[in-house]
Amino acid sequence: MAAEGAGHHGPMEQFEIRNIFHLDLFGHDISFTNSSLMMVVALALISGFMIFAMRGRSLVPSRVQSLAEIAYEYVAGMVKENLGEEGMKFFPWVFSIFIFILILNLVGLIPGNFTVTSHIIVTFALAAMVWLVATFIGFWTHGLGYLKLFVPEGVPVWLMPVIIPIELISYFIRPISHSVRLFANMMAGHTMLEVFAGFAVMLPWWGKIAPAGFMVAFTGLEFLVAFLQALIFTVLTCIYLNDAVHMHH
């Protein structure tokens, strides 16, 4: 594709990390990149919104205050439903995970913006944090009794040699399934949009309508996916925490 010229390498180019300025920490590269910029933008948007929305702290909420309260009540409901009332001690952490992923997903949908959650290393780091925290809480709460999580009740003894490895594998695979789900959805959606945008550019004017129309519809779907994937990531976080706290299967 000569028309696209140098620097454009097709639909995957949007996932390219670009340095904004170079930074080093004890010999490690910690450059501020387009990804870092989007994380900082999300942090600023979330903090700014939550603080701005609650500035009035009025009993009869304004529209923005309602929005902040809805977000709060929504995640609080999710935590209470999965973890019960005592699970509210994890609420700030769960809320941060939800709102961070949601805003990163949504900000990434703005054309030209980088989507932080389309990088496996980021989603894996978040999922690994959830897995480590859940595992730590499991052993902290139940001691070695937490290992009973891998020995389901009511299973005949002769099945144990099969069940225990399966349970172990499914437990250790959690951070991978947890992170790949979010990463793959974000990457696939954005790639799809870019591919159809490429068609719309390449085709003559009478052929542009179909891919352009598809993109409009697909962008709507992507907003849903952005929300849904943040929600699924958070619900799974609650479920893993519930396993750790209550050991229900």
Partner: protein, 185 residues
């Protein structure tokens, strides 16, 4: 939804293959892992701090205060309702008392009047009875006087007749004696 995801993944995989030919998937370039992890840690910890120390407690305060306020208002409303109910019950009791009182007074008056009428009637009755008795006595007296007068006249007449017949004066006492059995006395 599932089919859609599969299709998306197929498209993504194709695109990834294309990218792989032009230098690999950007997501799998380990050179960019450290800066991303570093900035993720920094921003997430900062977000967690701002949310848990500043933003979320404010939301929680407002929501809790509103819940308390609503509960207080509901409590006050139910207290006021109880008071109203009590006042209404008091009023109704007073009304019932007054009604009972009024009917008592009416009954009393009725009974008093009836008793007075009865007493008056009895007094008049006695009076009439007394007068009747008196009249009866007078009639009886007059009758007996008249009867005795008739006896005297009969005696005198009999004496005169006897005197004429036998030319002899008969004492009145004797005539009476003779006449008495005849008179049925």
């Amino acid at each position: 939804m599932f089919a859609g995801t599969t299709m998306l993944l197929a498209v993504a995989a194709e695109a990834a293959e294309e990218a792989a030919q032009s230098g690999g998937l950007p997501q799998l370039n380990p050179h960019h892992f450290t800066p991303q992890l570093f900035w993720l840690a920094v921003t997430f910890v900062a977000l967690l701090f701002v949310m848990s120390k500043i933003a979320l407690p404010r939301v929680a305060d407002v929501i809790e205060e509103r819940r308390d306020r609503i509960k207080r208002d509901l409590d006050a409303a139910s207290r006021l309702k109880d008071e109203t109910d009590k006042a209404l019950a008091d009023y109704e009791k007073a009304l019932a008392d007054a009604r009972a009182n009024a009917s008592g007074i009416a009954k009393q008056t009725r009974e008093k009047l009836a008793a007075e009428t009865e007493a008056e009637r009895q007094r008049v009755d006695t009076q009439i009875t007394a007068k009747l008795k008196e009249a009866d006595a007078r009639i009886a007296a007059t009758k007996s006087k008249a009867l005795s007068a008739i006896g005297d006249i009969a005696t005198e007449t009999a004496r005169a007749v006897v005197e004429k017949l036998i030319a002899q004066d008969v004492p009145a006492e004797d005539v009476k004696k003779v006449l008495r059995p005849l008179a049925g006395e």
